[in-house]
Symmetry: C2
Subunit: 291 residues, 2 copies
Amino acid sequence: MAKTTKTKIKEASISSKASPSSKSSEDKPKSSGTFKIATFNANSIRMRLPIILDWLKKEQPDVLAIQETKVQDHEFPKEPIEAAGWNVVFHGQKSYNGVAFISKKPFGDVIKRLYPKDAEEQARFLVGEYEGVLLINTYVPQGFDIESEKYQYKLKYYVDLKKYFQKNIPTDRSALWMGDLNVAPTEIDLNNPKGNKDHPCYHIDARQALEETMKGKWTDLFREKEKGPGHYTFWDMRFPGAFQKNLGWRIDFLMGTPPMVERLQKIWIDTKPRGLEKPSDHTFLVAEFLR
Amino acid sequence: MAKTTKTKIKEASISSKASPSSKSSEDKPKSSGTFKIATFNANSIRMRLPIILDWLKKEQPDVLAIQETKVQDHEFPKEPIEAAGWNVVFHGQKSYNGVAFISKKPFGDVIKRLYPKDAEEQARFLVGEYEGVLLINTYVPQGFDIESEKYQYKLKYYVDLKKYFQKNIPTDRSALWMGDLNVAPTEIDLNNPKGNKDHPCYHIDARQALEETMKGKWTDLFREKEKGPGHYTFWDMRFPGAFQKNLGWRIDFLMGTPPMVERLQKIWIDTKPRGLEKPSDHTFLVAEFLR
DNA sequence: GCCCACACCG
DNA sequence: CGGTGTGGGC
């Protein structure tokens, strides 16, 4: 026991009906005000720690979901985060991927695996419950090139996510699916749709995979409040001035089940962190819900 | 001509008698006050630019000699240095070594080679004249291990420096030899002499090589003013707390010919920069001379 | 421990 | 462009 981390890895599913912990937190009186939640692809939590800690201090979210932490669990910088008064759970690997939740109150058990038994799995998935809401934090594979193996893995990842949601997330449950989904769903969700027909984040198969995975369960919460073009969460570093010229992609999402659509108050992209020194290539997507 | 750098590389020697430029500057009236000169092993001028620019602004030296710039000439960050109002000449290579002078007034021609013809030579040597004083900036090889080829190269480097000085620096000329000489000359010049008998920077052969090179020409200016132990210019990053515990080495020097010994007013090691964020493993050695 | 180069990735 | 790991140097 002394050698295991405090956060247990569970492979069992969380059900809205069966879980005593979810029942108890749904039953207990809610604190006042709103429930504020955000998602951010950090592209290295170590390099982005100053930006993240500043943002947390200013924005005071209940939960921040992070992707691309790019760090193994024993190297995760939890001390400065906890020293700033936050709780954190994480699931990482060397160099690539890696997901985390930073929160005001501690998470209980979290699930770190999309696949029940697979030691080889990439660290792209983290599920936990917070104040009775199921939170699914994913970093979906980017896909490299539509002709590649990696693109097939991406498409399969969506199929497997759909299966997971069917099995584990009842549509009437309060749940949020969030993170970097690496798909721009429509032509208004990227600067240059015409030139990106074969891009792994806009190719028709990727868009249909996302659509299939969402169908009947998930609503793109940003589009509940904003119908217009030009709202992006990612601007590629390899194109100089992409952010300044707003040549970006909307590939980070907060998806909600119907109960969360009902509770949604506000949702916005906070572009300021993208303009700071040593920024991530992504920025924060933030929403507030009725408690 | 368009492809050559503005600073010409000369392989000819500078003589105290024959050089018209040295004669004219020695004849012309000197500005008032003192002549302030410093040396600093930066261990990457790119990483140390903030520390160097801050130090220059505060200390206002006439000349700062830098070693281990670790940058090729076409990548040297001269713009921010010139933008701060300084002149700079440099001689570098990829990854290793590299020397430079930053100065209030521009240098004229500088010499970048210890060896007359050797395209393979490492960038460890820079000679120029400033206000009638010959300045020789060297980054002497460290020597790795006393059993190694590199150590033999270090010993030979001292022999070749001695030859250069015999041929090019008359003892009655105003001249300063400065830089990282990678030798602690006596037992009070390093924290742990007993444990470093076989260290390439304290081994008897290295100390004798330095002594031979100095003999009859060069005076260790720091020891003109300070006879005691515990004064160091380098503290190894690999020993945690070395600087805090003052476990260091005095391996950076300002050496003077007799005319410069006469003119020496003050000399000190400025330890403050070694305690800053992202420091070099060395710090600045500074001296003031009568003009 | 902190530099550098290089190779890989998005 | 800006992350990561690796390997080498001091």
